[in-house]
């Protein structure tokens, strides 16, 4: 009979924080693993494409300091998936620098494995030519042009690269882009625990206490694996797991809650049971992992232009009543005056009307007494975006619509300057499955971290 294996997930995303008290109580239970999901594609294509973290550096450092200090002190492996938010080389390096600062400040020495998950464009071009790329649902087919335009191209790794790093004796594993459950499931799978249970446990723990009730992305959760199931618990008196909360989380962000595909397999939850065992704890059984041909999910973003925005309010009821016609006329006038900037795209986000749902908004006639308008311009250069945003804003400000009585200006501009440069705009360019071209696609680099820096 295997002993219970305790996985601590301190927070839903590295940098989102956790109460120190919860963390201390969790550490007192002597976890066998501290693991955390460092990222997500939810915040959109910019962060991956630009190589920037969507989490705050101070927050990430604070969370990591607790995890690494306690992990090193007690010899508990610390495993981080999707470091830096998107897991590409610049994100991994950003997070590595934070770890080195913590080692220096807390006077710590340990072995750290770093696992890059960037995929060479040559590999992806070759896979595309060989018919080894598959578009996911609703995703257009991949093209060589899209691959070339992509700035950062990563693959979601499974448990295998983490296992290789842990087998080599890493105290801390800093992983690039990873399938969310991998960083939690790797060590228990390496030790012989059931893959289905370990991956399902990781699937729930990747959002930490979000799967409890009341949910929180900024509090600790623990999964305790044994040979036939796992138990979920929290460390804050205000929160508990219920069968509904744990099951509901399984549903989250998934298109089919019974069959969750990942690298090399599908997590089959058709026979899965969630059982209340008291004290705010839930026992989960019946999760099965079924092997499938090994594919990895590729993710990439490419730049598509530069953005400038202006924010304005409208309170005039005559203008609100015919806002659609007015914006249409302004758009026409702007388009007639674009000249060399004909490639610019102008978008009006009309809050109070359909700013949130756009064409999907079923309410066609707004009853509001005021509107918020965001003028968004995306153009091939920042200067062109500035020019077209300025033109659109000034045209709308002074447009003489039918029935107008307020002839001094149509917009309440909250800021001076009114126009805001928002920089490079990215879009997802790669979101496809690729046959794993080689077993060791994600080799790790082992580093000896000391307070003075990396020595080997």
């Amino acid at each position: 009979m295997k002993p219970a294996f305790k996985i601590l997930s301190p927070t839903a995303i590295l940098g989102y924080g956790f109460p120190e008290e919860s963390f201390r109580r969790a550490i007192a239970e002597k976890p066998d693993l501290i693991a955390v999901d460092g990222g997500s594609s939810d915040p959109g294509p910019y962060y991956l494409g630009a190589g920037k973290a969507f989490t705050d550096r101070t927050g990430v450092k604070r969370d990591l300091r607790f995890m690494i200090t306690e992990g090193v002190k007690h010899g508990i492996p610390v495993v981080i998936g999707t470091a830096g938010g998107s897991g590409a080389a610049p994100h991994l390096e950003w997070c590595r620098q934070i770890v080195l600062e913590i080692a220096a400040e807390a006077n710590l020495s340990f072995k750290m494995a770093v696992i890059p998950t960037d995929v060479s464009k040559d590999v992806v071009h070759a896979a595309l030519d060989a018919g080894k790329i598959e578009a996911l649902e609703f995703v257009p087919p991949l093209t060589h042009e899209a691959i070339d335009a992509t700035t950062n191209l990563v693959a979601q790794m499974g448990v295998e690269p983490f296992i290789a790093a842990l087998k080599a004796g890493a105290q801390v594993v800093l992983g690039g882009r990873a399938y969310d459950p991998s960083c939690f499931a790797a060590l228990p799978i390496m030790l012989g625990y059931d893959e289905g249970l370990a991956l399902h446990c990781g699937k729930i723990l990747e959002c930490a206490a979000i799967a409890a009730t009341p949910g929180s992305g900024s509090d600790c959760a623990m999964g305790i694996l044994d040979e036939t199931g796992f138990v979920l618990k929290t460390f804050s008196d205000e929160r508990k797991f219920t069968p509904e909360s744990a099951a509901a989380h399984t549903l989250y962000e998934k298109s089919d809650p019974y069959m969750l595909p990942g690298p090399g397999g599908v997590l089959n939850l058709r026979e899965c049971k969630f059982e209340d065992i008291g004290n705010g704890q839930v026992r989960v059984t019946g999760s099965r992992h079924e092997h499938t041909p090994y594919k990895v999910k590729l993710e990439g973003s490419r730049p598509v232009g530069f953005r400038t925005v202006a924010i304005a309010g409208v309170r005039d009821p005559i203008m609100i009543k015919s806002i659609e016609e007015i914006l249409q006329a302004v758009r026409q006038r702007v388009e007639n005056n674009l000249g060399a900037n004909a490639d610019a795209k102008v978008f009006f986000h009309i809050y109070g009307k359909n700013g949130v749902m756009g064409d999907l908004e079923p309410v066609k006639q707004t009853q509001t007494h005021e509107l918020g308008i965001v003028i968004e311009v995306v153009a091939p250069t920042q200067e062109a975006a500035d020019t077209v945003c300025s033109l659109t804003r000034s045209t709308l400000l002074h447009y003489g619509y039918p029935g107008r009585v307020a002839t001094a200006g149509n917009l309440a501009l909250p800021f001076s300057p009114s126009d805001i440069r928002a920089g490079v705009v990215f879009e997802f360019s790669v979101y496809h499955l690729m046959d794993l071209p080689q077993e060791d696609l994600f080799p790790f680099h082992m580093q000896q971290v000391t307070p003075q820096g990396v020595t080997a």
């Binding site: 996911l136 995703v139 099951a247 298109s255 019974y258 795209k345 079923p362 979101y431």
Partner: protein
């Protein structure tokens, strides 16, 4: 008897499932309500399409998930998350048309 969705559901939400897909989740208050709605087939592609002024073909899939007493609706995002012109990068505020639905119980 007619019930509003808020009388019978405890969670009504929307979210991306990846940048290209939008999912709507309705979690019912108990298993009996879940079973009744599943068996009576009141939640179908036509109902969801009408709420969003779409055609039933635009609704990709409807999945019932007993452990959470929940039903999930899958559709494609009309603008990929974060691409120019998008209005909801996380897809977290696309659920409101569901709040007006009523059901026979």
């Amino acid at each position: 008897m007619k019930y509003g969705i808020l009388d019978i559901a405890r969670v009504v939400r929307s979210k991306n499932s990846g940048p290209f897909e939008l999912v709507l989740d309705i979690m019912f208050k108990d298993h009996k309500i879940f079973e009744t709605l599943r068996e009576t087939k009141q939640i179908n592609k036509e109902l969801i399409a009408a709420a969003y002024r779409l055609t039933p073909e635009d609704i990709h899939n409807i999945v019932w998930f007993a452990p959470a007493h929940a039903v999930k609706v899958v559709m494609h995002r009309r603008i990929v998350s974060g691409a120019p012109g998008d209005s909801d990068v996380y897809g977290a505020q696309q659920h409101a048309p569901l709040l007006g639905l009523t059901f026979e119980l």
